[in-house]
Symmetry: C2
Subunit: 164 residues, 2 copies
């Protein structure tokens, strides 16, 4: 009664959503979700017996992450793919923390994840720098324009006073 339609999984406890609900929650279309999957941006989600996709909360977070990267930061999907793949590596690293065998393989994953993170950080640093510069520039211009505006308003007021 009190549980929403998509959370009635009392035994497994993990919530699963089908594509329509995920689309509503994230604000992207179903087409886009399938497209991201096709392009390797989203891991293929579970399926119901009939073939319907079942997304997890983790998937939803990832979708929101992808959208932020795209909309606010202007990354291409190819760049984002690299980034989420690095994220997957990190997850794998965390997941394989317990089994203490084959250390070199784990080190390799860690090194690749570190490399990916460094490259991402470099790109972001570049963008931050460019943006900060642009921000300053805009602020300065706005200030000058505002000054000019006050001058003009004063001049118009004065002219009106003279005409009167």
């Amino acid at each position: 009664m009190s549980t929403p339609a998509s959370e009635e999984q009392a035994d497994t406890k993990v919530a699963r959503y089908q594509i329509g609900e995920v689309a509503d929650r994230t604000g992207v279309t179903q087409r886009t979700l399938r497209f991201y999957e096709e392009k390797g941006l989203l891991r293929p989600p579970e399926r119901m017996d009939g073939g319907f996709r079942l997304y997890s909360d983790e998937d939803v977070e990832r979708i929101e992450y992808i959208r932020r990267l795209q909309q606010y930061l202007g990354f291409t999907l190819a760049e984002i793919k690299e980034m989420v793949e690095a994220e997957d590596l990190r997850q794998q690293i965390i997941a394989t923390f317990r089994p203490d065998r084959e250390l070199p393989a784990r080190l390799d994953r860690v090194l690749r994840a570190a490399g990916a993170l460094e490259r991402q950080l470099e790109v972001v640093d570049h963008k931050v720098e460019a943006l900060a510069e642009m921000q300053e520039d805009l602020r300065a211009k706005l200030e000058r324009v505002t000054t000019r505006r006050h001058e003009l308003e004063e001049a118009i007021a004065q002219q009106a006073a003279e005409t009167k």
Copy 2:
């Protein structure tokens, strides 16, 4: 002898470059320059008698500005067009500083320029915020991965010592 090929304009003093040189200087293709002009991002440059385009230093700066907006900040050309149009308004405001007639018209231009600048600044502020967040996130992840890396390297060193 000491003057580069494109600066031999001893009388007018203003340097003019044709499209190939501008392309080399800015790193964009000639096609892109014509495309920007077509789309209204660049004011139609001067032409030689034969029809060859002649760009000024100002044009070159504008091209570099456009590229920064596009590459580092992820604006679309349509958005950039709005922004450079605001820039043109600013230029006009400066140019029409002397003739002190028709003050209301000048105020109108100033107000529109201010509005455009404010909108741009809002977008940039948004992006700066998102980027800063992402930067922090990446730094934290990189630090964790680096820690994990050192742990692994130590573990491997220890294992090697034991085997020996």
